[in-house]
Amino acid sequence: MSRGSGATSVGSPVRRQNVLLTLILIVVLLFGVRLVYVQAIAGPALAQSAREERTHTQTIPAPRGDVVDSNGTVLATSVNTYDVIVDQRQIPDFEERDDDGEVTGRGAVAAARLLAPILDRDPAVLGAELVGDNGYHRLVRNATPETWQAIAALGINGITAERTSQRVYPNDNTAGNILGWVNAEGNGAAGIESTLNDRLLGTPGSSEVEIGARGQVIPTGQQHSTRAVPGCDVHLSIDTDLQWHAQQVIDDSVDKWSAEWGAVVVIEVETGRVLALADSDAVDPNDPMATPEQGRGARSVQHAYDPGSTGKVLTVLSALEEGVVTPTSPIENPYRHTMPNGQTFTDHTEHPDQVLTTTGVLAESANTSTVLIGDQMSNETRYEYMRAMGWGERTGLGLPGETPGILHHYSDWDGRTQYVTMFGQSVNVNLLANTRVFATIANQGMSLPPRIVDGYTCDGDYEPLDPPVPEQVVSPESSEQMIRMLESTVHEGGTGVNAAIDGYRVAGKTGTAETADGRGGLTHRAASFVGIAPAEDPEIAVGVVVVQPSGIYGSLVAAPVFHDVTEFSLQHLGVPPSTEEPDLFPLRPEDS
């Protein structure tokens, strides 16, 4: 390219430029290719992985619904708590400094000294828990938020917390038998908590945000969140004050009579709502394991006992409804009576032969006369009344483990069973089912399934449950007569005088029966009283059973419990006292 050969070769700038240009082009090309690769080909994937790194997905826990009573008093709720976790490997590096930045203590000893007053524990024991090579040691379970904030303020490296939720029952063991409790996973393990677990559980939500290094949300980043739907609040028909009082009374009675257990139920007769369902020594759901296993449930529905003499009411009611007797029909009452098939029955106390009215039979709880009344109806008829009144089936209250009791079909009744069923033996029912019979009588013969749940509040809206449809099982006339007859029980000459309440007319029936002893025998006794108040315009039916008391008669053991619980309930519910004196049927034909 050089032109003059004689001239000094100084190189061609054009060539160098070309070389340089080529090099630059190659580099630019490489950059371009890389750019296209990064932006166009690998771009979406890279952006995605970067976003994933920034994106923080958090499950928003759905709070479990509360359980409240009929007045809105909270019976079960959930509170936030913290499990304090220690990484023991980091503790030796801890340095305690004073205000001037001087190191005043190191390691587990210093950490334990600082933590001990907050946790109210012995520093030596606490210190031992901080030493080791466990990266995940649970130091405290269910610490309150305040406790965790105090611990967090110490700034000890290696101590962190996990937020948890704790189920709490502010009323301790009041209604504990109904509520049940939740297990460690937060699912109901007993009681209402268990049967209504699906209602109480909410649907957890999730929140997806892009976050910066310090945990702040990047405002221009993608955000996406699904709201957590909290569980429904369950409204029970229980009245906490009534429930508490009933528990006190039954506890006192069980203690007084050294009984095995006892239970009381209060039913609002017009609606079938259960206002109180008390079991003795009820479980405290805050600490269920402190109660022996057999006492953790609701024996009021889980345990069936022979209704005994309270069952005579059903026999006499059937007889009234069938027109076999009237309240004043004269009935023979021998102390001992042998039926044509050779079965012999006796009354509970020896007495000369006498004649009672039907009312007198109930008031004196005469076995032989009851058999004579019942014998005027077929087994099938009596069986149908028993079924209609709810014997032999679960009430469907909604508590776990409810027993249907045992009511054999009448075709399976043997020579003795057909008679003893007339006074409530060889059948068994739970207390609630037995009280339901009286609630039906009190509700003009209309049977209502007892219920304990009034409704639910889901997402702020209260949805009451539809009231059950009452079923007329006996006529209002027979029911009215029966109530009037049962008023005699609590008056002179009756077995239930201890159940009488000043100012209110009450009707009821005592009962004493053998019941299963859990060893296959029938050696245990159940003393019971079931009644209705006020007799002239019934509001509540109250049932009491005390199992294996040292005094065996329902009149002595169960009637006072009925008195206390019913008196308190009537006052608490604002039921005005009775204004009229009862118009009692005569107990003996000669009195009329």
């Binding site: 502010p170 009323n171 009041t174 910066g212 949300v217 405002p219 000043d502 209110y504 008196e567």
Partner: protein
């Protein structure tokens, strides 16, 4: 340099008597300076960038603030929860009964009635009103 002959400048033509007629012309209009326009552009550009920066900064600051507030909110609602639970515990019938007993109160005995016809008190309270008189 000295070796080269000194070139003499060509003799200027002798000034002739003709002179171009001079006349005052209007000064050409000054070409408009680009400076204000450039400044305007720059201002808009810088302003926009600063604005965006400030907006972003403000958003980031708000994000931090939201985080703080959220932490505060969580703490306060936890506190509220604890207090509500304490109130529920204190209001529980069992706790109330214990507190009342501690204050020297006693459970009422039975039901008392005020009879409207004659203004008399019936029931356990009757004895109390008698002893007051």
């Amino acid at each position: 340099m000295s070796a080269q002959p000194v070139r003499t400048a060509p003799a200027r033509p002798a000034p002739s008597s003709w002179r171009p007629r001079l006349q005052v012309v209007r000064a050409p209009a000054n070409q408009r300076s680009l400076l204000p326009f450039a400044a305007l552009c720059l201002t808009i550009l810088v302003g926009a960038m600063l604005g965006a920066l400030m907006l972003n900064t403000a958003m980031a600051a708000t994000a931090y603030e939201m985080r703080e507030q959220r932490i505060d909110l969580a703490r306060l609602s936890e506190h509220q929860q604890v207090l509500a639970h304490q109130a529920e515990q204190i209001a529980a019938p069992g706790a109330l009964a214990d507190a009342a007993l501690e204050l020297g109160m006693e459970p009422g005995e039975g039901t008392s009635y005020l009879l409207l016809e004659d203004g008399m008190i019936a029931g356990p309270a009757a004895e109390l009103s008698e002893s007051d008189q």
